[in-house]
């Protein structure tokens, strides 16, 4: 487990909704570019550059890679 902090439900829900709305706005074709921009900005706020790699490792789990 990487995120140990307890995030209040209303904040989780607000993030959920605003991300969903933003993804709807941008559409499926540019979703990856859009999310990458978000990640680059969040990563710039991190204290440790290694943290992003930890997040990527967790996010890569339990997701089916696209068949090549």
């Amino acid at each position: 487990m990487l995120i140990e902090a307890k995030i209040p439900s209303h904040i989780l829900e607000a993030n959920w909704e605003s991300l969903a709305q933003a993804l709807n706005t941008v559409g499926s074709e540019k979703a990856s570019v859009f999310l990458t921009k978000v990640v680059l900005m969040l990563a710039a706020k991190l204290d440790r550059p290694e943290t992003l790699r930890d997040f990527l490792d967790v996010a890569l789990q339990d997701i089916e890679p696209q068949q090549k």
């Binding site: 570019v33 990458t36 921009k37 900005m41």
Partner: protein
């Protein structure tokens, strides 16, 4: 031609700005049964081969260059000349012509769609003699090198003479040369392969380049146009007229403009190189940047990025340099500049070995130092390439994300920086003296770094440090007051019977004291190729020069006598 590997001219070529002299074939003595052993044969009279030849010739070594063509290279090819190459060319004897003819620049702009996302300047001290970059066609550079070679009767070029094969037996190298009047064998003590990306020498010796190649393709187009567009490197990512493409523009002398544009994965290369098609694309691009001047196509060449190197640049009596040794992606201008650096590293070492001053093991340091430099260059160039022509889905997503974020967010703009070529520090090797004393310096060029070509204020305007460096080694002795120190050092070195020169240059200039973090007694030992070998707060000639002689495998007086 040597720089052939990555860019091939299409069709016949008549330059709009360069008057090609075609040199008649001259029958080689070997064709009539005469033969002799030449000290050094160089395959390929491109910028690297001619720089090696020039530096060897000025050191008194006889050289013969073999060149397949009957003239200098066709097309502009490598147009970005780095400051370090300008220094090397001038030191080798070209004079200031390349610098003065070229278009100086020190930065540029990148645009994403309609927005400026990067305005960069290559960082360097502002009082160096040369700018970070000049743009000038390779044919002009080769012409200056060729003219400088005419001052050396011990250097000759055999035009229309292609080295097709080479073999060696430990004592000498035999080069097989194809000419319009037949083929002959030529004997050399040493062969320097500067015969480009498709090196026949490399093939003959069974050596392979290793590394990666990139799928993304560009078309390079030179046009002649009278325009007031700015100099420098300008890049348009996904311009409105060309979504999904990248276009680069550089100003060259003689109203020539280099335009590189990215081809799509489905574009048919045979179709895209047709002048009709090129005209259509370039016209659309020029209109999109508000350019209305008339223009004409000078040269068209396709390009694909390769990042490859040999594991070793020495194979017995054969030495590899330039594109024959490594192919570096075009972005950042590390191809020809890296090759010129090879030439600068190799020539003095080869001259010392040919002269019998040093054991041939000195040439192994050429290989190790320059293989390491190629890997540094390739790492930088590959970063640029991954941005300029994204090789994977992930890199393409990141390129678009970074560019679109950069419109409003400056923090990310550094990733768009082209990582333009800068001089490299030698990271290791036997010729770098990292003494414990070195930690006492708070500034100044580190061992392995290039000695900066700073102005000498006390010796009149226009005089720069490089002009003071000797042909061989130079000891920069910082001494403001003691007028006898340099004389004493010269006398001491004289008594050591060293076969090559160690010039002692006394430095009094306050600005150089600051730039080198020097105190009275500080010394910097500069190699013949302009790199700092070591530096000391208090220089001890006996111990340090003894180390130097061992490091460069200098033969003792006794062993030289036996030889």
């Amino acid at each position: 031609m040597p720089a052939e590997a990555q860019a091939t001219a299409v069709g016949t070529y008549n330059s709009l700005y360069f008057d090609y002299a075609h040199h008649p074939f001259q029958r080689a003595p070997e064709l009539d049964g005469e033969e002799r052993l030449y000290p050094v044969i160089i395959a390929g009279a491109g910028p690297v081969g001619m720089t090696v030849a020039l530096d060897l010739a000025r050191r008194g070594i006889e050289v013969v260059l073999l060149e397949e063509d009957d003239t200098v290279n066709r097309g502009s090819r490598a147009v970005g000349i780095a400051r370090r190459s300008l220094e090397i060319f001038e030191r080798a004897g070209t004079g200031p012509g390349i610098f003065e003819t070229g278009i100086s620049w020190k930065g540029g702009q990148s645009y994403y769609r309609d927005s400026l996302v990067l305005d960069f300047v290559v960082q360097q001290a502002d009082n160096l003699r040369h700018p970070p970059m000049v743009s000038i066609a390779q044919c002009n550079v080769e012409q200056y090198l060729y003219e400088a070679l005419q001052n050396h009767p011990n250097a000759s070029i055999r035009w229309s003479s292609k080295l097709v094969s080479a073999r060696q037996d430990g004592e000498e190298v035999i080069a097989s040369v194809a000419t319009p009047q037949g083929q002959y064998d030529m004997r050399g003590e040493w062969l320097v392969a500067c015969d480009g990306g498709r090196s026949a020498v490399r093939k003959a010796l069974g050596k392979e380049l290793k590394g990666s190649s990139y799928e993304g393709r560009y078309l390079i187009v030179d046009i002649q146009m009278k325009s007031s567009q700015p100099a420098g490197r300008r890049v348009w990512f996904a311009p409105p007229e060309f979504p999904g493409s990248t276009i680069i523009m550089h100003k060259q002398p003689f109203d020539i403009w280099r335009i590189d544009y990215q081809l799509g994965p489905d574009d048919d290369l045979d179709e895209e190189v047709q002048p009709r098609r090129v005209r259509e694309r370039v016209d659309r691009f020029l209109k999109s940047i508000g350019e209305t001047a008339d223009w004409a196509i000078d040269w068209i060449s396709p390009y694909r990025a390769l990042s490859l190197s040999l594991d070793s640049y020495r194979e017995g009596r054969v030495l590899f340099a330039g594109d024959a040794a490594h192919l570096v992606p075009i972005f950042g201008a590390r191809g020809m500049n890296g090759g010129v650096d090879d030439a600068n590293n190799l020539a003095w070492k080869l001259a010392y070995v040919v002269s019998g001053w040093c054991d041939d093991a000195l040439l192994d340091s050429y290989s190790s130092e320059r293989v390491d430099a190629a890997h540094q260059n390739m790492a930088f160039a590959e970063k640029s390439t991954r941005f300029m022509t994204p090789p994977t889905f992930g890199h393409a997503v990141l390129q678009e994300a970074i560019l679109s974020l950069a419109v409003k967010e400056p923090f990310i703009r550094d990733l768009i920086n082209p990582r333009q070529v800068t001089e490299l520090r030698m990271t290791a090797g036997p010729l770098r003296f990292d003494d414990a004393d070195d930690i006492r310096f708070a500034g100044g060029p580190l061992p392995g770094a290039v000695c900066p070509n700073l102005p000498l204020c006390t010796d009149g305007p226009g005089d720069h440090l490089q002009g003071r460096l000797g042909r061989d080694f130079t000891l920069l002795l910082f001494q403001k007051t003691d007028t006898t120190a340099a004389e004493e050092m010269r006398a001491r070195i004289e008594r050591m019977n060293i076969p090559f020169g160690i010039d002692v240059v006394q430095i009094r200039d306050a600005s150089l004291y600051a730039a080198f973090d020097a105190q009275d007694g500080t010394a910097y030992l500069v190699r013949p190729d302009g790199h700092v070998a070591g530096r000391w707060r208090q220089f001890n000639a006996d111990t340090t020069l003894d180390r130097l002689l061992k490091a460069i495998r200098c033969k003792t007086m006794e062993s030289r006598h036996v030889d």
